[in-house]
Point group: D2
Chain length 351, copies 4
């Protein structure tokens, strides 16, 4: 049994069914097919505006291409101290936008502190060519500590960014989980709050490969199309990527899967809370649970062949472990996680 990551889960049955359906006929290549058109229509429909949507193979690609659209000479992206794109993508954003720098801004609960962001933005001189200039602020929602930015949180960050002519990027590798938690609409959590570009990930939610860059300014479509191709991300049989979006977005399928995964996340947190050998770092808001575990608890889980991941936060705001040898760990629930799985976890924990 695994709480290793939600990308250990495969694809939902519905995704597999729609993939089979999409396979029935010949279809033009490189996105000139009706599945791609249909997926784009659904996206524009759900975001309540004409959006430019580009399907890519990985979340790393989505982040890298999205930021690239706003890169300028001497440009600096501001992101949270724990940002995935700064630590876990092997420098991909810097390969796709050579010369772009990433600077980290801390804040509690995995969120950029608006106050710290304001101070950082202010620290840049108007034309300091040596230091460079801020061009984008990137926030992750659900963030790297499993917490969400509310629409108000997003709007606050975005307003600060806008004042300094910075674009706002949202890394939405678990965007649907954030929707499920906040109850916000896709439009409210993004462009209505000031987001310019979204890395929309549905893979973790229950597809096998459904990642996209969503640009809320459709005037950027033509330019981005070249970036997308040059970034080696334009699938020849693009309909199979598109079909997964269709499957996930129609009838709120993804939202249903994410709601389940979030519920399982809370169940995991409850189980951990009931154990004396574990202490939550934060109450989870989505499907990821971060907790300190005693050595004994870790041993018990390992013996029970329950997978989880030792974790690390670089944030100065994170709580210290209750005991020096307790280690921060991450547990992730997915659309496939069951109550039985959580029960087994709890049994293993209690030895």
């Amino acid at each position: 049994m695994s709480f290793g990551s939600d990308n250990w889960a495969g694809a939902s049955n519905r995704v597999m069914e729609v993939l089979a359906e999409a396979n029935a006929e010949l279809a033009p290549a490189y996105g000139n097919d009706h599945w791609t058109g249909r997926a784009r229509d659904i996206l524009s429909d759900q975001f309540e505006k004409d959006v430019a949507a580009f399907f890519v193979g990985t979340g790393t690609a989505a982040n890298s291409l999205a930021l690239g659209a706003y890169a300028r000479a001497g440009g600096i992206v501001l992101a949270h101290t724990d940002a995935h794109l700064a630590h876990d993508e092997a420098g991909a954003p810097l390969l796709f936008s050579p010369g772009m720098q990433i600077e980290l801004v801390d804040g509690p609960n995995g969120r950029i502190s608006p106050k710290a962001l304001a101070a950082r933005l202010k620290s840049f001189g108007e034309r300091d060519v040596h230091r460079g200039r801020p061009v984008a602020v990137s926030i992750t929602n659900v963030n790297e500590l499993g917490q969400c930015y509310s629409t108000a949180d997003v709007a606050e960050i975005a307003a600060l960014a806008r004042r300094r002519h910075c674009a706002v990027h949202m890394d939405g590798a678990r965007f649907v989980n954030a929707l499920a938690h906040t109850g916000a609409s896709p439009a409210d959590l993004t462009w209505r709050a000031g987001v310019d570009v979204l890395s929309l990930g549905l893979t973790k939610a229950g597809a096998w490969c459904a990642e996209a860059v969503i640009l809320f300014d459709p005037a950027m479509r033509e330019d981005f199309a070249y970036r997308h191709k040059q970034g080696a991300q334009l699938f020849s049989k693009n309909r199979f990527a598109a079909a997964q979006f269709v499957a996930m977005l129609e009838d709120n399928h993804a939202l249903g899967l994410a709601t389940h995964a979030n519920r399982m996340g809370r169940a995991v947190a409850d189980a951990l809370t009931r154990s004396e050998a574990a202490a939550l770092l934060l109450p989870p808001q989505a499907n990821e649970v971060f907790a300190f575990l005693s050595p004994a608890a870790r041993d018990r889980l390992t013996r029970a062949q329950i997978t989880f991941a030792p974790w690390q936060t670089r944030s100065a705001h994170a709580a210290a472990p209750p005991e020096p040898d307790w280690m921060l760990c991450r547990f992730v629930a997915s659309f496939r996680t069951s109550d039985a799985d959580v029960a087994a976890l709890e049994r293993a924990l209690t030895g």
Copy 2:
């Protein structure tokens, strides 16, 4: 009906079945799963040596990452005048290897002329920092005019490259079609003939997304793993890419599909040859047919809703059209092309 491209066809039934099978259980992410291991084992088995295999999302990615592994400061890649990577990938290889140049070498039948290659290689001074230095020779097999390099052809090019310390890259977007035509083994057509790195494409043959970089020097595995991730090409649910390789390579499934497609290519060529309104550019060796079509013939096909592609060759060796208004066109057969399709094409042509 479409002869537009083999990537208009979807995935074979077998591929869909194995994808379903791969979806049954949880599996570790990022290639640490048993499907990835199994696909790698099959590849090493079929290439008769330990190879380093990396799955990517597009043929453009495979070419770009493959060349990047051999890029050096001032480095120049030599490729055929019609090379796909020089004209149809939006400069992706130059994005992934900033500063790398591509120089074109012509030759008849879509193949680099060994004599022209030798002369070009000789034209580089030993330490001419202004001009740069050749670092790789890239050949496409099946090439951009639907012709194949035999093992002897490959060996001749590779020997010239090696003498100048250049790596040899093969763009194998239709590699299995080349295997089917030449009857060579995968090993004979690649590393035994001097190829260092292969862009292996099985998507066109009948998968939905099965592209890989195959490095024949396994010592490059560790370094390339970082390149692969940094290039935003490491799938989180990598097992689904791997499963397609398993489906395609076990029991020579891909070879069977390609053999069929090649046979359909010949049938298309025969149909075109029988028409007075068409003239083959070259007798096809795989599943692509290049022919000049009269305006009347093009009209008839369009009216019959038969898709094909106007084409262009930049090679000085290409034959001229028989009449000034005849246009070079490309027809591609796929695993899904049937005798009935070809018969319909012939009926339409003869009006």
Copy 3:
């Protein structure tokens, strides 16, 4: 004695004097000094408009940064078959603008053929993401065969470029020699004819290091300032670069030096013409002379320790040598070349 290149000559006496003058006092670094301001004022004065001027260390840097200002995803620069930036800069423009491609367009006399340019521009589809899109046309003036573009020539190229929304770049490594030949004003030969950005080189004319990027749209100044710094081209003691521009541009010093060099070029051409062992490729228009030399003539020059350079043109328009063993050679006159030097050349030629 050397006709090897005009960059074998050092700096004019006046340049050395002004450098000494600029050294007299402390001055702010990084271009915030009055010499830099003065050089910029002179440039705006001589170009008859407010220009954005950035001093750099090499012509390669000027070309690379200038094109970078117009690079876009999928962007292609069109340049002449013999363009220096395509063959003699080790791929620098592709390092500074990763992903940018350079395509060559031929034409007689080292000039892009307007007809060929029009055809090439037309060959790009409107949104062909695979092939990419033209973003700039680069012309060299004086060009790589020692010929000049007149103001009418420039305007014709620029009009074609503009129609396709391409920027126009002029590689002016020998710009002053072009001014001297054409008699045009700096403004007429550049922005009034449609040039957007000029690589202005005064090093060959008689400075030790005086290269600049001149942007004719001053609104690009702020953005380019970051590009300039990030390209590692902002001198800390920038006044010394600026002082050379002051020295070269005040009182038309550079124009005087170039006029002399051009006159010496014609004298070299006359001497070669009078020899039976040499044949001009083209009548020179500036200070570079291209001629075919017999083996005997080359031997005689070598024995007389007169330096010149074997040369190569890739243009299909270039004349063939009068005899198979005659070799294309380049002779360059500089501000330091004297009548005595040319007389010595003629004596050596005639054996």
Copy 4:
């Protein structure tokens, strides 16, 4: 009067004299001249080994090209929290090595803490493609707080780096000032202590443009030559860069200038120490003095038209200002700073 920076000073008389001497004759371009050879010989002589030396236009270029020689896919450079190359070069190192990341390691007195470095290096997993891998450690000597690494300090850092197969880079923008302070030989302070590549800056010491990359492994010479040219840093009239090295290095001219500047630095520190309105951050070791100044002191200096720079350190180890409104400032002495200048500073301070 200015203590703004040592690059406000111009060039020493001797440098100007040697430049004039180098200008006397024609000389081959692009470094094939005897001045370049002579400068290289002197460098090899002073470093007591055959070194590969490349002259560049800026310290930023030296750092960027030097690190580029060790960049690999997924590679990370570790540098001090205050490192110039991380904060003051507009991302240039990331432009020249796309995809390379810079991570900061703190430590007191502007030096990387060996303990913190060891911990950071240990934190990288062996094959963690997501996070990337350390490829180089960069130290600045004289560092960003005006302090020096002794030969023992360098060796300690280098040993840690070596254990993890990291190259060691030294940013020596004020290298001669470090030699003057430590009394170490150039060889002892670099390659004998484990440094692989040095950015050697003599501009600040008293040239107008004398920056170089010194590779201590001469086998890297050929490869780096292409990097140097592609980086747009190969001067056509390279002899003028070389001549400055000759002038600065012969007879220990630069060391003499730096010794003077260091002495003036101490005099500035003494003057500040004697003032009640200033407090040293650290006792200076070279020609830079960092001190907290009261608002009144800053006003007095400004009124006296004495230039200095408000400063910032990001290090958590830096002392806090004695009073909240005292501001960290930097004063730099140069080869041109006189006792009279320091006396004037002291007079101004005491109001």
